[in-house]
Symmetry: C2
Subunit: 281 residues, 2 copies
């Protein structure tokens, strides 16, 4: 490692989407160079590379896969759609097994067309987990329900708060269903600290992810997650809350950001490593 290269904090994990401009081998090289020990994978690029091949590549590089993203989209009312979603989630669990990670992150899904009923949609997520959670648990994989920011409630994820995620998770053993705590989605919520404590008391903090909140939000509000340190979120505050509950696992930086994606991926990777140390350690 060169003298000018910043070495990653041992808790740092890079989500593959943060530097999606890098191929998987490029990302693995970058991790080696920067001393990154953990990585979160994303289904589409892993499938494109080949799940077995990706697993071998990561294993050979000694990289720990912290999470696989993402299953979910379990809110359909149409029976055919619902069954297809459950089957697809089982495939995602199988991918977790191949990749050697024990956490599948779930983005639960939005409202079906024409429906107004967020509560009923959340109930259907719980119904789907009755089938999915044991399937995953038998394979050593825990499902992590991720609350997404309320701005995604209609079209992406009807689970908008940690409280709602835990309300669903509580119907299952903690080793089967946990939650994903992501600063980007919960930072605005004055109830979130108490809900992190609730999640911790139940042993349900399955993963902890970081992204910063920057404005103005881009059209569609998907790809505006800020680089750590650029926005309104106090990373150390949230890390402190999660660690007060005994969370000692890797901390994944997951950014969707058109600006970052337009830059050189290795440069963004190094910057992310530095920002993590500067703002979250």
């Amino acid at each position: 490692m060169s003298g000018t290269t910043f070495t990653a904090d041992p808790r740092f994990s890079i989500n593959q989407m943060t530097v999606k401009q890098l191929s998987l081998p490029e990302l693995v090289d970058g991790c080696r160079e920067l001393g990154i020990q953990h990585l979160g994978t994303w289904r589409a690029p892993v499938q494109e590379y080949g799940v077995e091949a990706a697993a071998k590549l990561l294993r050979d590089a000694g990289l720990n896969v912290t999470t696989h993203c993402r299953g979910g989209f379990l809110t359909a009312t149409d029976e055919t759609e619902r069954k297809a979603a459950i089957e697809d989630n089982k495939r995602a669990v199988d991918e977790c097994v191949t990749l050697g990670t024990n956490v599948l992150v779930l983005v639960s899904g939005g409202l079906p067309s024409g429906s107004y009923d967020l509560g009923a949609a959340r109930e259907r997520i719980g119904d789907a987990l009755v089938e999915l959670a044991p399937y995953a648990a038998e394979r050593g994989v825990r499902l992590a329900i991720e609350p997404l920011h309320p701005m995604y409630a209609s079209d992406r994820c009807v689970v908008s708060t940690l409280a709602q995620a835990l309300d669903i998770a509580e119907n299952f053993p903690a080793e089967q269903v946990g939650v994903c705590v992501d600063t980007y989605h919960i930072w605005w919520d004055d109830q979130a600290p108490a809900q992190i404590a609730r999640a911790g008391a139940q042993g349900r903090i399955a993963t902890f992810q970081l992204a910063d909140w920057t404005t103005p939000l881009p059209e569609g509000v998907l790809n505006g997650r800020g680089q750590i340190g650029d926005g309104a979120i106090d990373m150390r505050y949230w890390r402190g809350l999660v660690e007060a509950q005994g969370y000692t696992g890797p901390i994944e930086v997951e950014l969707f950001n058109d600006g970052l994606w337009a830059r050189d991926g290795r440069e963004v990777l190094a910057e992310t490593v530095e920002r993590f140390t500067a703002h979250a350690v």
Copy 2:
């Protein structure tokens, strides 16, 4: 009134911003033609027209001014800025008096640059109201704290839920400080129904506004409020909750929408009247 013109429901109120392409006299003409009895005003266009002249125009047309929008922006830490904001809010109260409305809607303001502390910002709002609320009450004006959607928490309004708005309002007599219930901002919140009941029990529902939730959100997420009936919000459900608490006042449609603003204002006004009847009556 022509036979083809739809007549507005007697509870319908049009917020001036919904059809900001119309001058105040054009809007008044449109209200007369469509039988609209209530209107919510906005500071900038009223000031531009002249507050006294606007008041006379609306009074002569027999229009009831339901709210004046907007005061607020009370989160500054800088003392000069804070004092200027309070003075500006007093001017907004004075405008309410001139216009003959008893409700000033407050958009509370975002985080000061470099600050992470939403809770402290909310405390400063309460501090400012200690001076503002009596000033307004002495003039027959009630302040209505409007929670804005959490996607505005950093840059526009640190009050993101009805619960937070009521936590602040409760420090003041109900006749001095109420809340603004706007479907656009609260529809995602599973705690909102209980908070509407809390607001109702305290007599703090100062105004009820409608806008629909449509996606994709536009860049900056300010001007994408959907026309009634175009989105994910069940207007009759929320109207029912508010009316179960005894709210019988006008219901204001307040849309910020680049698409609607690009169209003929009279056509949008007529469409809004029709949509209100179709989806909210």
